[in-house]
Symmetry: C2
Subunit: 256 residues, 2 copies
């Protein structure tokens, strides 16, 4: 026998596909047996969770936000402190490597970037208010669980860059006219904090943010003077840049 | 006045969303002003192309395969030699860097990988028959035009790996128990051909292919002994691995 789930409950879960409803109720949805299991062991509060073996696959299909429903779904409470209004009260450590997303719009890209941040031990990921909502179901799925482990905040990226440079740290950005990531000296975040800014998929880093970046980087194509594509995907550029910071830290552990 | 487009024509274009129809007619669709312009200047045959200023936006909306139709659409003929049945007759050069995709299923990933191949001057990309169709509209859009420049073929990846190792080249794959890409000596494809195999999103490289890889690589997380996520996205792993081959070629041009 299946446990009953009310139509109101199903309607409520379905409504969490929309940002407006997620903001209003302060909740979001996670789907998939593995993700739900990770959610239950995470710092996030699981408000309610369902398994198709308990509620029946028909009911699961009705409440799922996915094209192909999975056997588990959970409703989670959004964490506190997601938006940082006053950076002065946010204590950025004196060292560490951070990411700032300036207008990432594609849910798959944001999810993939959080997965990269998780793999490479990024201390926090900051995003501009016009970045896609991190609790959008497509973002949550694409993180493959990284959303439960990576520290994430929305804030003003212009002010964040200033905050880093005023603290004596660096705010890096990638530009087509920047300096090769392979020849430039990089602040690896060991003695001072270091920020890598990633721009919007179509327009790159915004003018206002670019004016506050301290160092302009460039990912060299191959051969160096023959670029085929005009640019790399935003998540791919993030991966290559972060990997280079971590490669140096791993292969030259005494470098500063 | 708008130029008339018959309902049959619209139905035909719409049908090209399906692989079966693309295979039957040997054609595929490209959308977006920039992509259509690149198609017209590419080695691909443009069978017909439409602009919404000529046919009207209503008609464009009816024929478009995109959720948000763009002002230009073109029907292209699929190139010859897409599938390689007999590798012996395919002449792989004695040097160069190549990619092999072992079951990439996500259209966005395949498109992004072609964009990476374009940026990094990869000589050819090979894909197993169970890889998503490269002329799927979502793949075409995600390539951002790289599809017009990158040499792409479907073939048996097990036989391809053997072909590379028998030619005295290397067939690399990334595995969780491989050797760090930063400490391993790499055949950069200068004196001999080198192949990088990328596995399926969920299951990695298949057993049969893994048995024919000559060198097992690993992308180290950071810190090296504290992996957060279980893996990286397939396109991200491709980017980091290819970037490392090209970084060495760029920064140590005399290395072999």
């Amino acid at each position: 026998m299946s446990l009953p789930v009310s139509n109101n409950e199903i309607r409520f879960i379905k409504s969490l596909e929309r940002k407006k409803s997620r903001d209003e109720h302060g909740m979001f949805v996670v789907e998939g047996a593995k993700l739900v299991d990770e959610a239950l062991h995470s710092r996030f509060e699981v408000v309610r969770h369902y398994r198709s073996e308990d509620i029946g696959t028909d009911t699961m299909e009705r409440m799922s936000l996915l094209a192909s429903p999975s056997p588990a779904l959970a409703v989670l409470r959004k964490p506190e402190g997601l938006e940082i209004k006053d950076l002065a009260f946010f204590s950025i450590p004196r060292n560490g490597l951070f990411l700032a997303l300036d207008g990432i719009r594609d849910p798959g890209n944001l999810g993939t970037i959080l997965r990269i941040a998780d793999w490479y031990g990024i201390d926090s990921v900051f995003a501009s208010p016009d970045t896609v909502d991190v609790f959008n179901p497509k973002v949550v799925q694409a993180t493959m669980g990284a959303i439960f482990r990576v520290d994430f905040h929305y804030c003003d990226i212009v002010r964040l860059c200033r905050f880093f440079s005023l603290s004596g740290g660096n705010a890096y950005g990638t530009f087509l006219d920047g300096e090769s990531i392979y020849s430039k000296e990089l602040n690896l975040g060991k003695d001072n904090c270091s920020l890598i800014v990633i721009g919007n998929e179509a327009n790159g880093i915004s003018k206002e943010v670019a004016a506050n970046v301290t160092d302009r980087l460039f990912i060299p194509p191959f051969p160096e003077d023959e670029r085929g594509s005009e640019s790399l995907n935003a998540a791919v550029a993030t991966a290559i840049t972060v990997a280079e910071f971590r490669r140096r830290a791993l292969t030259h552990p005494t470098d500063r």
